[in-house]
């Protein structure tokens, strides 16, 4: 036994009826394909007890309403027989079992009803001649619905074995006891396992033309289909590949057997040597009237140099178990189309001889689902049982893994070789009648996926994958309920089981208190998302916040430092640290202009790589204090500047006399003594009347009208007033203009002669008024 059984997968079969029926633990128990009544939820298990393997007493056990009962058998049959095969109970509650005595002569018995074992001995009719080495290898109830006949028949396939050869294959129809199904004599065949191909017919709605073609083609032999129909046209090729056609063909096709023959093991020096040879599969149609259509299903393209065991075959699919010491794979092959799939690996590995693997392969006639049952057993108990369902169609390769419910009082010390219920899927409780007392409940199909294991770093990926897995199983609702979601304890448990499976042991313990899958999920989310996802995003925002930190002019150094250390500590708590030089550089870079001097000083006079962050803060603080001390002075200084500006503006209005003079000279040198006039006017405003003169001949340069100077021109003064107004506004708006601006004004004053002149003239005028 390899690993410890996982709680989710392991099945234990706690109690057994055998303890009451047969107290002796020394008995070997052989359990064979069981019956399941199609119209009652009864399970009958054919089993035999013996103290020596292969010499056992047949018995039937029936599970009815949870109680096991042993069916009576006649004492005469109680000696030295062992069960070989059994068939499903049909609708009339008739099943068949074959028993064989030690001379390998098979006997056929009919089981009528679930509780009454009426053993009819067909022995003489089955084998009139006393062959030795006959062996029943198959017993199946076939329901042939397709074709003209609708009867059900039970077929026994019997082979005669030579020492290492199969001599004859005979298939008997039990109802008529006609030996009408004689197959081929395959002299080259060696060890043989068998199975039959047939199944229920499933009718799909389709186009009439297609349906007709399908019907015709379905009556052709497999070989014809492969070699001809696929070649005729594309439509036909698609047609014969269609699952519904496959089903149709299976329902109508002649019964055949798949023979798996391989080299027998050689005993050499007392050791059993098994060849690494997958063997050969042969498909033999036993009912073909024209001739035995034999098709060699060559395994070589699929499997080479390995040991295979044919688990079983249904509807042309074969289940192979690759069991060489290095491999432990379960294949399901469609040998005709050469498609195959490998089932998910089991949790258990075959490990030595202490654990044996038991297989079953079948198809459910109700759901059309193919199922593989795989059980591991130790000597007296089943360690684990798994079921894989292949749903929908072969082509979709959808594998559904199910557990088998543990509340079953399953009587198996040793698991069945092939669970018969598997064949019809009824044992799984997908009986369409939905009987409550169905002994094995189908927990619900949960698709098998490999759950990723959560560790400290992979939460993001883990949660994504787990979400997908839960979604795929329709369990995500349990974690994120929609408004339609109803409370579903069972599904919640399944989701919980999935989550537990995906958690390491220590985490399992931590979330053990959580009551629901959702709670577990949320716990994990809170726990991990802090470390991963949100933290990354937070880290990102914090980083950009850190980058963007800039000290404002008004900020005090202290408040800025608090801000900065705040961000830094947040980032540090998220696991990222900054080294000192980075912090110092960041600090210095984010200083406002007024710290420029100290920043430059620090940069120049200390090694930035060596100075600590705190030290830098200390230096800056000292500078800040100095700055505060000087602040009042600096304010005065600035106000002074502004004042100066105002003064200058004011002075500007009082145009300095020498400048005025120069201008006046320029402007009025053609007039009669203009300089003097102006000078007089300015210097002696009070004495204007002394300069009365005749204005009648004076022409204004501005408006070309007589009787006034240009300087007195009303047009001009109006214009000036407008400009003065705008000047005033400008002054109001810019009260804190710096020196440089003032100088510019002064320059303006010098360059814009007209304006200056005007202002001076204006002043004259005002003064004159």
């Amino acid at each position: 036994m390899g690993t410890s059984p996982n709680a989710f997968n392991c099945i234990s079969f706690p109690t057994s009826p055998f303890s009451t029926i047969l107290p002796s633990p020394r008995l070997f128990l052989h359990i064979f394909p069981s019956f399941h009544s199609p119209n009652r939820s009864l399970i009958t298990i054919a089993c035999s007890f013996s103290t020596v393997p292969s010499h056992s007493i047949p018995s039937l056990l029936t599970l009815d309403s949870g109680n096991w009962r042993e069916s009576p058998t006649t004492t005469s049959e109680r000696r030295f027989c062992y069960l070989m095969c059994s068939s499903q109970l049909d609708l009339d509650n008739i099943g068949h079992i074959t028993l064989s005595d030690s001379s390998l002569k098979p006997s056929l018995y009919t089981v009528r009803g679930p509780l009454s074992l009426i053993m009819k001995n067909y022995r003489h009719r089955l084998l009139k001649k006393s062959f030795s080495r006959w062996e029943v290898i198959g017993l199946r109830s076939l329901k042939k619905i397709g074709g003209a006949s609708q009867e059900a028949k039970t077929i026994v396939i019997v082979i005669k074995r030579g020492y290492d050869k199969v001599r004859t294959i005979v298939a008997y129809d039990i109802v008529s006891m006609n030996k009408d199904l004689t197959g081929t004599t395959a002299s080259s065949l060696r060890l043989v396992t068998f199975t039959e191909i047939n199944g229920g017919r499933i009718i799909f709605p389709s186009q009439p033309q297609v349906e007709l073609t399908m019907d015709i083609l379905s009556r052709l032999s497999l070989k014809t289909i492969i070699t001809r129909c696929k070649l005729v046209c594309k439509k036909w090729r698609n047609l014969v590949s269609d699952p519904s056609f496959v089903n149709l063909h299976l329902s109508g096709s002649p019964t055949g057997i798949i023979i798996h023959h391989k080299k027998p093991p050689i005993i050499m020096n007392g050791n059993l040597i098994v060849h690494n040879d997958p063997g050969t599969l042969k498909w033999v149609e036993t009912e073909d009237k024209v001739g035995h259509s034999s098709l060699d299903l060559n395994l070589a393209p699929i499997l080479q140099n390995t040991r295979m065991r044919l688990v079983g075959s249904v509807n042309g699919l074969i289940c192979l178990w690759q069991y060489s010491p290095k491999h432990d794979n379960t294949y399901i092959c469609n040998t005709v189309t050469r498609e195959y799939m490998i089932l998910p690996r089991p949790r258990f590995q075959k490990d030595g001889f202490s654990v044996r693997v038991v297989y079953g392969f079948g198809v459910s006639s109700v759901t059309g689902e193919y199922k593989v049952v795989r059980a591991f057993r130790a000597r007296h108990r089943v360690l684990e049982a798994e079921e894989y369902g292949i749903k929908n169609s072969w082509h979709k390769q959808m594998v559904i893994k199910r557990e088998i419910s543990i509340d079953l009082k399953w009587p198996l010390y040793e698991p069945v070789r092939m669970i018969a219920g598997l064949k019809d899927g009824k044992i799984m409780g997908d009986d369409s009648k939905g009987d409550e007392s169905s002994p094995i409940k189908d927990i619900g199909s949960t698709t098998h996926f490999q759950c990723p294991l959560l560790n400290s770093t992979n939460y993001t990926i883990w949660s994504m994958r787990m979400r997908t897995i839960l979604l795929a199983n329709g369990l995500w609702e349990m974690i994120e309920p929609t408004y339609q979601t109803k409370e579903d304890d069972k599904r919640d448990k399944i989701a919980t089981a999935y989550l537990f499976q995906a958690l390491p042991e220590d985490l399992n313990l931590q979330v053990a208190n959580c009551k629901s899958a959702k709670e577990i999920w949320d716990t994990l989310k809170i726990r991990n998302i802090g470390v991963e996802q949100v933290q990354k995003a937070r880290l990102q925002t914090l980083r950009s916040e850190f980058e963007a930190l800039e000290m404002n002019e008004e900020d005090s150094l202290d408040s800025f430092i608090v801000k900065m250390t705040n961000v830094i500590s947040k980032i540090t708590s998220l696991g990222t640290t900054f080294d000192q030089p980075t912090l110092v550089r960041k600090l210095l870079n984010s200083m406002p202009d007024k710290y420029l001097q100290i920043v430059a000083a620090i940069e120049q006079y200390s090694d930035l790589d060596k100075i600590s962050f705190d030290e830098a803060i200390g230096r800056l603080k000292t500078f800040e204090e100095r700055l505060k001390h000087k602040k009042s002075k600096s304010v005065n200084y600035q106000e002074g500047l502004m004042f100066t500006q105002k003064e200058d503006q004011g002075k500007e209005k009082y145009v300095p006399p020498h400048i005025r003079n120069q201008r006046n000279v320029k402007q009025h040198d053609k007039e009669e003594n203009p300089l003097q006039d102006n000078n007089e006017v300015v210097k002696h405003p009070g004495h204007r009347n002394k300069f009365t003169r005749d204005f009648s001949n004076i022409k204004c340069y501005n408006c070309n009208k007589y009787r006034h100077y240009a300087s007195h021109c009303r047009e001009r003064s109006r214009r000036y007033q407008r400009q003065e107004l705008s000047n005033l506004i400008e002054e109001d708006l810019e009260p804190t203009l710096l020196m440089a601006t003032i100088e510019e004004h002064e320059v303006d004053g010098f360059t814009k002669d007209d304006d200056k002149e005007d202002s001076s003239f204006k002043r004259l005028k005002i003064q004159g008024i």
């Binding site: 003209a148 007709l212 009556r219 070649l231 098709l295």
Partner: protein
């Protein structure tokens, strides 16, 4: 049971009379009779008159049940032409006469079983839509089966 007569109308508007108790061997007709009493003519828009005549001949057979199988076989064997059989099978499918359809299909399958590819295409009027290369590829794929 009174011998009520039903009227069936083929694709080309020909009318055929048949007694009801014989006609209801066809599940389709039986359902129609159940539903509306089939007072009017039952149109069979996909069955031509020759085929319908055959179907009616089959339905009108007077055979003991144990000989029925053989009769159907013989009935179909006599019309060994694949196109006729296909029409018959199609009509039987539409009318849901299982035994006739089974027999017709079986006969077609028997006939084409040993045909070559070309013969199959010819018989079923199927055009070969494959290039020789594609054909060869499939042959190679299933080489083991030939």
């Amino acid at each position: 049971m009174s011998k009520k007569t039903l009227t069936l109308m083929s694709k080309d508007k020909q009318l055929f009379n048949i007694e009801e108790h014989l006609a209801v061997q066809s599940v389709t007709i039986r359902n129609m009779v159940k539903e509306d009493g089939a007072s009017s003519v039952i149109p069979l828009p996909r069955v031509d008159s020759e085929t319908l005549a055959l179907v009616i001949e089959y339905l009108n057979r007077q055979q003991a049940p144990e000989e029925d199988e053989d009769y159907v076989k013989k009935f179909v064997d006599e019309r060994g032409e694949i196109p006729t059989l296909l029409e018959l099978a199609q009509a039987a499918l539409d009318l849901d006469i299982k035994k006739l359809m089974d027999a017709a299909c079986m006969k077609v399958a028997d006939l084409i079983k040993d045909f070559t590819l070309e013969e199959v295409r010819e018989a079923l009027r199927i055009e070969n839509d494959r290039t020789p290369e594609e054909e060869k590829a499939i042959r190679d794929e299933f080489q083991w089966a030939f």
